[in-house]
Symmetry: C2
Subunit: 224 residues, 2 copies
């Protein structure tokens, strides 16, 4: 409720805020009422410097008290608001192979705020399947079905060659955010809407290549 618009959040790393929220939520559950930037850094295994934490938190508003630390409750509330944890979100899954199926199961089990409201595929053997009461529809019928489902977020778990087309289709039908598992050449290209469509790419094969790169050339540097 206390959400005095964080005027500018530029330069603040959202994954870090998400980590703060998780850690603070734990501390909250453990009965803590207040925490210092040092204490939070310790909770995070000192993977983030306390200075960094203070910079990030100060950008959210005046939650700290000098000499004391941060009151956890309002901070958790503010983080939840900033991260969009307070709303419920409807997801459209596009591509219901192993990956799409696993993602749908994973995310709905993990966070109640996410609900799958539509599932699409192009394969006749998959279309018509029912998952948790939701029928898998033909992607070709998306224009008819998707608007009624009122999805906010699209998840692309389709083969690489279908990704670009699927993204454009979703964009045209009003989806405003896309989580893409398909290896686009580098990033998925989406139409320059106003407001812009938000895309996050998760490239599993690419991540594996980072590992095999490091295993091959050897980790020369010190790095944590």
């Amino acid at each position: 409720m206390i959400a005095p618009l964080p005027q500018t959040l530029v330069g603040v790393s959202i994954p870090r805020l998400y980590a703060y929220h998780r850690a603070l939520h734990q501390a909250q559950a453990a009965g803590e009422a207040t925490i210092t930037s040092q204490g939070l850094a310790a909770l995070l295994g000192h993977t983030i410097a306390s200075t960094q934490i203070r910079k990030d938190l100060s950008a959210l508003g005046p939650f700290g008290r000098r000499g004391h630390g941060y009151a956890i409750d309002p901070l958790v509330e503010q983080l939840a608001w900033v991260l969009g944890l307070e709303h419920d979100w409807k997801i459209a899954i596009v591509g219901f192979g192993y990956l799409g199926h696993a993602f749908a199961t994973f995310i709905t089990a993990r966070e109640a705020r996410f609900r799958v409201a539509a599932i699409f595929d192009r394969s006749p053997s998959v279309i018509g399947q029912v998952w948790q009461g939701i029928r898998v529809d033909d992607i070709a019928d998306a224009a008819r079905i998707l608007p009624a489902a009122e999805c906010n977020i699209g998840v692309l778990a389709v083969p690489a060659e279908a990704a670009q087309e699927s993204a454009e289709r979703l964009a045209a039908l009003g989806i405003r955010a896309i989580l893409n598992f398909a290896p686009a050449l580098l990033h998925l290209q989406v139409p320059k809407n106003v407001p812009p469509i938000i895309v996050r790419n998760i490239d599993l094969a690419g991540e594996m290549s980072i590992l095999t790169h490091r295993l091959t050339v050897g980790p020369f540097e010190d790095e944590e």
Copy 2:
């Protein structure tokens, strides 16, 4: 074969190199023999500036010829070597729920260089299942089974609370690289081995939070 050690690859983004490899591989298949940094940028949908490409490629060795461009074949070969695409890699999957199962299916189908050599879980209902000829073993038996499997890479698809313990177990048994799907507080902590253990974290819920953050606070800035 032509692999004159790229002395220092610091500052070069591996995901970018991986994108170059994919794009060049396509160009190669299309019969192209040579390409300019401009041409490569175009293949990548101009998501990367040609200057950036030249900087990256020049770090790999003297592959360019001024006035002409880059010969594709040796470049692809060098990229493949740097990215570790030329070896085969054995993977141990830890946690064989939806996610672990989907990942195993996905990565082995997508790239032949990856082979699943061991699968572990802790749930009696999963242990004993067989996937593509591989038996799911009890994680408690890892010390007996894992060394014989000679895995290079461990994939953690376990619940959050089991991630840290599993990572340490893998590390102790000689795994040198870990792909972690569990939401650690921020990053998984692994023992400071020599050589260090390489960890990549994929936080699906975190990625979704980035989307919901942006959908909530609104995408103020211009950003690409």
